[in-house]
């Protein structure tokens, strides 16, 4: 708690400076600077081959950067201090297959020993991910969702300050995804810093504080979902439902407005509206009284933002 209020409170938990990884002529990661702040949920997004997993592995000290420096809580992630750093982090790899012959509890005890965590922590952690009832069963009998939860459980051992979650909901059913994010919210309240990747962008959109969009080995955009939307200035989409007698009035009123691609679909007017004209357009439409039955304004999705950058 002290560090959160002390002089280092604003220091990034994870700091990347000029990080690059070259495989021969291929620049998998090409000069990345990034700060992940304490207690935030940070999303890392990119197509396959964008350099996402290489960057992730470098942050975990699994891959040595060709250039640059990565620090967690001020300490380098590789080299002599690596063991101390690794005691403070949790990692859930994508699609990990654990040991079929061990039970859930034995698996956790194995990881707890390696992490130097008291074995008494295993049972509560299993409960937390909803596997308390299956602790004694062999992992070979676990469903895919249960295996994923067991992987998540080992990441939570030792109350890590930083969690690395690689495509954590890949292959889970909607109910399991909901339960997973409920656990994540609890961890966020405890002040745990989390960095996660996902290709299901709609899923991340509501759940991260900030995100970085990675393409061709570089960070193409960085910020909150809102900031990214504004940055790319994608127009809002308008959907105006019109009374059958009011069509002419609406048509006349919108003629002077900066709408793009206006067209009718039955009794509905569809158009794109520049972000800075939003209030003016709404005021005009509201002044038409009964002619307008309903009005919908769609924000661009993160997918729109993502493809605006990454393509």
């Amino acid at each position: 708690m002290e560090s959160r209020n002390g002089p280092g409170a604003d220091a990034p938990v994870i700091a990347l400076r000029g990080v690059a990884k070259h495989y021969g002529a291929v620049r998998a990661v090409d000069g990345v600077d990034l700060d992940v702040r304490r207690g935030e949920v940070f999303g890392l997004i990119g197509h396959n081959g964008a350099g996402k997993s290489t960057l992730f592995k470098m942050m975990l000290g699994l891959v040595t950067p060709s250039a640059g420096e990565i620090r967690i809580d001020g300490a380098p992630v590789a080299g002599r201090g690596a063991r101390a750093v690794r005691r403070r982090i949790g990692y859930l790899p994508e699609n990990v297959v654990l040991y079929d012959n061990l039970s859930g509890m034995e698996t956790l005890r194995f990881f707890a020993r390696l992490k130097g965590v008291p074995l008494a922590q295993c049972a509560p952690v299993l409960e937390r991910v909803g596997l308390g009832h299956a602790a004694g069963r062999a992992v070979r009998e676990y469903s895919k969702g249960m295996r994923q939860r067991l992987g998540f459980a080992q990441a939570l051992l030792g109350r890590p300050q930083v969690l690395f979650l690689d495509e954590p909901t890949n292959g889970l059913d909607p109910e399991a995804i909901r339960a997973f994010y409920a656990t994540l919210r609890g961890l966020r309240e405890e002040g745990v810093t989390m960095i996660l990747t996902s290709h299901v962008l709609a899923e991340l959109q509501e759940r991260v504080d900030r995100l970085a969009i990675l393409a061709a080995g570089r960070v193409q955009a960085l910020g909150s979902v809102q900031a990214l939307r504004e940055h790319v200035a994608l127009p809002l989409r308008l959907e105006v439902s019109v009374d059958e007698h009011g069509a002419d009035a609406v048509q006349g009123a919108v003629r002077g407005l900066p709408l793009e691609g206006a067209h009718w679909r039955g009794a509905q007017l569809h158009a794109r509206c520049p972000r800075d004209a939003k209030m003016r357009v709404l005021a005009v439409l509201a002044s038409l009284g009964g002619a307008v039955l309903d009005l919908k304004v769609h924000e661009p999705s993160l997918e729109d933002v993502f493809f605006g950058f990454a393509d």
């Binding site: 975990l60 000290g61 699994l62 590789a78 063991r83 994508e94 990990v96 040991y99 061990l102 020993r113």
Partner: protein
Amino acid sequence: MELTQVLTVARKELRDRLRNRWVLAVALVFTAFALVIAYAGGAQQGAVGLRSIEATIASLTSLVIYLIPLIALLLGFDAIVGERERGSLDLLLALPITRLELLLGKYLGLAAALALSTLAGFGLVALLLGAQVGPRALEPYAGFMASAVLLGLAFLSLAVMLSVLAGERTRASGMAIALWFFFVLVFDLLLLGLLVATGGQFGGDALAYLLLLNPADVFRILNVFSLEEMRNTFGLATLVPTALGKPWLMALVMLGWIAAPLAVATWRFRP
């Protein structure tokens, strides 16, 4: 290096092999073969039943020299590359454990499983033999068991090395089979070819020392050349340099065969 990390991994590997009954199955295979050879090994000479302990060891040696390298290679080829393919290697390496600790833990756990099944399998037969020939005659048999364990550990070390070098599991298994063919079948033929091609010019001591480049041959030397009765029976005493007749020296060479591949594996197992 932290020993607790090594032992945690080793214990998990051993438990895994005990639980899937690998240790039991291999021990039973050894027991069955040892029994058959002890009692029927002399059939070609027109007799069945228990022969001298040394003749039994000589027969067992020629079997074990095929079997143990194969079993050890099959046990170990998967050690690292298997974890890599399952995605659990990254997970392990992101824990507070070094690559050396993980590698040693893997090796020690598998080594314990192999040693356990070797000692249990041949040990059971030792009890039966002991009842018939008396416990004193068992001394060379104990030596045979120890050398069988060393042979297994040497090939296990080679297997773990392949497991680090190979990028894929299927490739590692192919390399393991190739290695088995080379050391168990091809190597001796090459030496023989060398001897014949040079018209016996290149032979004698130098050729004998070349045998040390093959852990399977070291095992053969340990069990055939160093037994008094064998040396006399086959007239080998005049052929083999006396240094090769010293069991402790051969055991040392075998330890080298355990250490060297592990050293290569450690060197190549880098981020």
